[in-house]
């Protein structure tokens, strides 16, 4: 009883939490969970950080292209041939082979350039300056109950992290923050979930789902991020794949969303199911309550350790 009170106190102290939603592989239902959960709760900020393939807008703001837009820029070196003495210092410095010397002229390959600025630093002739190039975009649609932000990586660009960093500057801690993270275990994913209070991992009961779930959990443990699991496309004859594993590892399964052609069809048309299928609003509300409790519990454990 005492414990419960303590959590409630903490929930009172931290009125809103930030939540990231993640999956090991794409197509497991990350967007489905993020969107339906966001539509259930009031005073929400939904940030789509799956910048390579943002899909939340289809359900939340189909006309997002006509809304507010902000560019995310990066810097690309430019070489002044008149000042360049062909000393090769910049070419030798660049770890990414983005610069090459041809007939005493420095060529810049912007696609492989990481925009570190090192070439400009090592150039003793001041022959290198930098110009801005658009790497991606942020789009914004502030609706009554949902403040929606989306990050987008431009075609041909490789680095998603700067777009996600910029997106995170928009976080409003007075709202319930939900970040739809890129799938997988690499840098963009880590960037999207770092600084969130709690992560929900969406998986499906298949050998693929289990395999990729294990990879994600390895990463989450590595960065010491608290998390729990939601099973999507749940089916009575295969849920054990995920449930057995979670039980062994002491991981909580918060919710199951069943394998259903109806849900798949709604999804295919960009329609959320929470307000179309009976009983789901309560389920998502209960899910959020449990997430808050889990997050508070973790917070408490952490402060105990300190």
């Amino acid at each position: 009883m005492r414990l419960r009170l303590a959590w409630e106190d903490i929930i009172k102290l931290n009125p809103e939490i930030s939540l990231s939603i993640l999956s090991g592989k794409g197509g497991t239902g990350k967007t489905t969970l993020a969107v339906n959960l966001a539509l259930t709760l009031g005073n929400v900020q939904l940030l789509d950080a799956d910048v390579e393939e943002p899909n939340d807008y289809l359900f939340i703001s189909p006309e997002i292209e006509n809304k507010e837009m902000e560019s995310v820029m990066r810097l690309i070196p430019e070489v002044d041939d008149d000042k360049c003495t062909a000393c090769r210092k910049c070419v030798d410095f660049c770890e990414y082979n983005a610069l090459a010397m041809m007939l005493d002229k420095v060529l810049v390959f912007e696609e492989v350039c990481h925009s570190c600025g090192g070439c400009k630093i090592v150039c003793q002739e001041n022959a290198i300056s930098e110009r801005e190039k658009e790497l991606g975009k942020l789009r914004h649609d502030n609706q009554d109950e949902i403040d929606f932000w989306q990050g987008e990586l431009n075609t041909g660009e490789e680095k998603a992290v700067p777009v996600i960093e910029k997106l995170k500057t928009k976080i409003d801690r007075n709202k319930k923050v939900i970040i739809d993270s890129p799938p997988g275990t690499t840098c963009p994913t880590v960037e999207a979930i770092t600084d969130t209070d709690f992560t929900v991992v969406v998986t499906e009961p298949s050998s693929f789902g289990l395999h990729d779930l294990k990879m994600v959990i390895e990463m989450l443990n590595e960065i010491k991020q608290p998390f729990a699991v939601v099973i999507n496309r749940a089916e009575a004859d295969s849920d054990y794949l995920i449930e057995d594993y979670c039980q062994e590892e002491g991981i909580k399964v918060l919710l199951k969303i069943p394998f259903s052609r109806q849900i798949a069809e709604l999804y295919s048309n960009g329609k959320p199911f929470v307000n179309r299928l009976e009983g789901w609003e309560e389920k998502f509300k209960k899910l959020y309550q449990e997430i808050r409790e889990e997050a508070a519990r973790h917070e408490r454990n952490n402060s105990n350790q300190r």
């Binding site: 899909n55 990414y96 075609t155 490789e158 799938p183 840098c187 990879m215 798949a264 295919s268």
Partner: protein, 288 residues
């Protein structure tokens, strides 16, 4: 020798399942799993690893605390927020290994060191040699590991005079996908008839056009939403992307997957469809 890369933009559209089933129908083949974030091809093909090598794909800055004078220059110059603000420690997960901090450090306290980012496996599957990899979770530069998988697959194909290299590519449109596609003769785009699938397909088409790689289309679960499936077909026709096949939303595929089996072994109609893909590929790649 022809190299085909299967990509999907959106995850979960059936890219790996398609790749495994196509692999079973192609002769004289080397396989590469370039979906190093979520490598699943081995779960369907059960390859036996014959060798492995540690891949050092990334460099990070390493600091010698004894030489550090806490001047903060590394922090000031790092554009990747990879140096902590209070005590100037390097954050490995953020460091891009560019070497700027090494350059600006007045006391030579920093240097770049190669770190392990994953493991590369050479394996034998029942359909031919297979190269796959495992990325260390949280590691960057999956693009480099992807390139290594392709390099190795290509070397084996050359050495053993194989006809096909079939690559299971990565989802998305960023670094690993670009690495998966580089140098391929053709891309196969596997999509599903959902608004998200369509939206992501458009982005992937931009990528293959950008890199001038011919592409073919597969619509998986096409009868889940025939309207969107038709729209996708029309869009691709306009973009000059050939429809290779449409696969139905089928319980047989789900059940096959659960048992770790190939659907071409469990259904004649589906097998026919995949055989027609094979003959279209033969035509497309040999005629040119």
């Amino acid at each position: 020798m022809k190299e085909i890369t299967v990509i999907s933009g959106k995850g979960g559209t059936g890219k790996t399942t398609f790749t495994a089933n196509l692999a079973s129908l192609l002769d004289n083949l080397v396989l590469g799993d370039c979906d190093v974030d979520a490598p699943n091809l081995h779960l369907l093909l059960n390859p036996v690893n014959i060798s492995e090598e540690i891949h050092k794909g990334a460099k990070v800055a390493v600091k010698n605390q004894e030489l550090c004078i806490d001047c903060g220059k590394c922090y000031d110059y790092c554009r990747f927020n990879a140096v902590t603000a209070d005590d100037y420690q390097i954050k490995n997960l953020k460091c891009e290994g560019c070497g700027v901090c090494v350059e600006v450090c007045p006391t030579d306290a920093l240097q770049l060191e190669a770190i392990e980012t994953g493991t590369l496996y050479q394996a034998e599957s029942k359909f031919g040699d297979m190269i796959h990899a495992r990325l260390i979770p949280g590691a960057d530069t999956s693009g480099k590991l992807v390139s290594e998988v392709k390099k190795k697959a290509s070397a084996i194909a050359k050495e053993k005079k194989k006809e096909w290299i079939l690559i299971d590519g990565s989802p998305g449109i960023g670094c690993p996908v670009i690495a998966s596609l580089t140098g391929s003769d053709m891309a196969i785009l596997v999509t599903e008839p959902t608004l998200s699938g369509f939206s992501d397909l458009k982005k992937v088409i931009e990528v293959v056009k950008h890199f001038k790689i011919p592409a073919g289309l597969v619509i998986n679960k096409f009868d889940l939403n025939k309207k969107i499936s038709d729209r996708i077909e029309a869009y691709c026709q306009k973009e000059d992307i050939e429809l290779l096949t449409k696969i139905p939303y089928s319980r047989i595929i789900v059940e096959s997957l659960k048992k770790g089996e190939l659907f071409v072994d469990n259904d004649l109609d589906l097998r026919e469809k995949m055989l027609s893909v094979k003959s279209k590929l033969n035509k497309k790649l040999e005629v040119e």
